[in-house]
Symmetry: C2
Subunit: 349 residues, 2 copies
C-alpha cells in the first residue's frame, strides 16, 4: 500500500479523493499497489465530509511523515502552492499537480529541484484537464521536431464563444449564463482575458521546444471585447471565432507564441470543438497533424489526469526528463492576415 497526501480540498482535490475511492480496484490493478489517501490538507472545516478523518490543517504533518512519498498539489495559485511544492520536493517526495499557473511561472525551477532530489514533478493535468497531452508530446511524438501547437485550451471562453456563434448571444449575456452553469468563476478574468490559455500554451511550447517560455513575455488578447458583429462577420466569410493559444517554431532562432481570438475556417478540425470542450492540434515534422480532444476542465476529468500521474509515481516509471533552457531565442507574435472588417487574425490550419 502506498500512502499519499492531497493538498487542497476544492473541486479537483475532492475529485482526486473520490476517484481513488470509487475506482480503487482499477487503480490498484494498474498501479500494482493500493493507493491510500492518508492526509487531505485544507484550512477549511468539512464537518460532515465522508473523508473528514483524513483532513489536517498543518502542512508539517505531511512534510515530516516519511511514509508519504507522493503528494498531489491541487491548491492552485503561486504563493502557498509554490512554497509547499518546493519543500516537498526538497524532502524527497514526488509531487503531481493540476496547477497551471505554478507550472507556467515556476515549473522550470521546480523541475530542477525535483531532478536534484531524484523525484518527479508531474503536471499532465495542468493543460487540457483530463485530455492526455503532456505525455503524448513527451513520449509518443519524441521522434519528431514539433513545428506548431495550436489549441482551444479554455472551456469557459469556448462555452461563451459557442453561445455567441450558435445563439447570437452577446458576450455579457453568455458570460452570465456561463456563471450560472458553473462554467465561469465569479471573477472570470483569468479565463476571459486569456491568461489561463497563455499559461497553458507556454507550458506546452516549453516542453515542445525545450526552451522556458515565460507567460509574461507573450502577447495575450482575451475575448472580453469581442463583439457579436465580429463573430457574424467571421461567420459570413466561412470562419468561426475561437480563443487560440498558438506556438510555432519559425526557425531555430525564433518561436512565435501568442493568445488571441482567431478566425478559423469552418472545415478545420478545431472549428467544430464546441461548448466546454478543448482540443489541441500538434504538428510534428514526421507525424503531421495530430489532435487531442476532450473536456479541458471539471472535477473528474482533471482528477483523471492527476491520478494517472500518481500511478506513474507509484510505478516508478522512468519519466522522460524535461530540461528547459533559459529562453535564448526570440519569442514573437506571428504576422497573420486579419479578417477584413475585424481584428481577428486568420489561422490557416
Amino acid at each position: 500500500m502506498v500512502d499519499i497526501a492531497v493538498l487542497g480540498y476544492g473541486t479537483v482535490g475532492s475529485g482526486v479523493v473520490e476517484l481513488l475511492d470509487k475506482n480503487k480496484d482499477i487503480v490498484r490493478n494498474n498501479a500494482g499497489e493500493e493507493i491510500n489517501v492518508k492526509y487531505i490538507l485544507d484550512i477549511k472545516d468539512f464537518e460532515n465530509d465522508k473523508y473528514k478523518d483524513k483532513l489536517v490543517k498543518n502542512f508539517d504533518i505531511i512534510l515530516n511523515d516519511k511514509d508519504i512519498k507522493i503528494v498531489a498539489e491541487v491548491i492552485g495559485g503561486v504563493t502557498v502552492a509554490y512554497e509547499y511544492t518546493k519543500r516537498l520536493l526538497e524532502a524527497g517526495k514526488n509531487v503531481v499537480t493540476s496547477n497551471k499557473e505554478l507550472v507556467a511561472s515556476h515549473g522550470k525551477k521546480l523541475l530542477e529541484i525535483a531532478k536534484k532530489h531524484n523525484v518527479k514533478y508531474l503536471f499532465e493535468a495542468s493543460v487540457g484537464g483530463g485530455i492526455p497531452i503532456i505525455h503524448p508530446l513527451l513520449q509518443c511524438l519524441e521522434a519528431n521536431n514539433i513545428q506548431s501547437i495550436v489549441g482551444i485550451m479554455n472551456g469557459t471562453t469556448n462555452y461563451i464563444l459557442t453561445q455567441m456563434i450558435e445563439k447570437n448571444m452577446s458576450f455579457d449575456k453568455a458570460l452570465s449564463q456561463a456563471k450560472e452553469l458553473g462554467y465561469a468563476e465569479a471573477n472570470p478574468d483569468a479565463d476571459i482575458k486569456g491568461y489561463d490559455t497563455c499559461r497553458k500554451i507556454c507550458i506546452l511550447a516549453s516542453i515542445a521546444y525545450g526552451e522556458y517560455i515565460n507567460p509574461d513575455s507573450i502577447s495575450v488578447k482575451g475575448i472580453e471585447n469581442l463583439t457579436l458583429e465580429e463573430v457574424k462577420k467571421a461567420e459570413e466569410k466561412g470562419y468561426v471565432v475561437k480563443l487560440i493559444g498558438y506556438a510555432n517554431k519559425k526557425s531555430e532562432a525564433e518561436i512565435e507564441v501568442f493568445v488571441s481570438p482567431c478566425a478559423i475556417k469552418k472545415d478545420s478540425p478545431l472549428a467544430n470543438v464546441n461548448d466546454v470542450y478543448n482540443a489541441i492540434l500538434v504538428t510534428g515534422d514526421m507525424v503531421g497533424d495530430t489532435m487531442y480532444y476532450g473536456k479541458g476542465a471539471g472535477k473528474f476529468p482533471t482528477a483523471s489526469a492527476v491520478c494517472s500521474d500518481i500511478i506513474e509515481c507509484v510505478n516508478l516509471k522512468t519519466t522522460r526528463e524535461i530540461n528547459l533552457r533559459e529562453s535564448r531565442i526570440m519569442i514573437n507574435k506571428p504576422e497573420l492576415k486579419v479578417l477584413e472588417g475585424t481584428d481577428l487574425p486568420i489561422l490557416e490550419e
Copy 2:
C-alpha cells in the same frame, strides 16, 4: 550508441531508417543516446540505396548479434514476422512493431514471451499510425474504467467514403481513385472488407478491458457493398456514413464489439474526420469523452510511432505491463437502431 535492426524495408521500414537519420539530433537528445541502424533485413536487393551497406538477407546475423538489443519488425503478416518476433524475444531482444495483424492475432502470446524474457514488445504504431493511442490508453487514462472505444481507424476506407459523401462518387470509382493516389493497395480487401479495422479495434479493446479479444470472434462488415443511395439517405437525415470499429463494455460479463459502416450525426466529433485521417473516441468513466486524431497510416506518421517505441526501449522506461486474460466474457454485436431505408446502424455519439 545503441545498435538496432529493422526487419522489412518497405514503406514503413524505409520510413524508420530515414527518420532516424533525418531527426538524428532530436532522437539522440530524447533517447539519451545515439540510435544506429546496424542492419536492415530484406530479401530484395536495393542496389542504389543510400543505406545498402546495412542490408542483410540472413535473419540469423541479427538474431546472433549480441549488440542488437532492439529490433523493429515492420515486415507485416503473421508467418515470417511471427517466427522472427518470437525468436528475437526469446533471445532477450526488445521488439517494436507496426504489424497490427500479428499483434491482433498473436499479441497475447508474444507479450507473454516478452514478459518471460524480461524484454518489451511494443506496438504503438499498430493502431492509428502515428496517432498516440496505445500509450494514452495504457498510461494517461489508467485511473478510468474505459467504457467505450469508437473510431475511424482505416484511412483507405475513410478516403473512399469522403469521396462518396462529398463528390457523389460511386464506391467503385472512389476505390479506383484511391488506388491511383496510393491510398489503396492493389488488393484492397483487408481495408474495404473491414478486416484492418477489426484488428485495430480488437487490439484497443483487449488493452482497455484486459481481455484477449480474438479478431475472428467479432462481427465484421466492410464498405464494399455500400451504395450511393445509402450514403445519400443518411445525408438527408443529418448523418454521415463512416466505417466504425466499436467496443463497448455493456456489463462486467459482456463486451459489445463490431465493425460496420455506421450512420453518425453530423455534429459528432467523428463526423468531420475526412480523407485519410483517423480518429478514435475513447470514453472513460472519469474523463468522459476524449478523442485522438491524425493520419492513420503512411510512411513517416507510422515511422514516428515505431521510433517513439524504439526510444522507449533505449530509455528502459518502465512500460505498464499488459496482462490479457483469455476472454471469459461474452463478446456480442450491439443492438443498434438501423437508419430507415438503409442497413446502417445509428451511433448515438
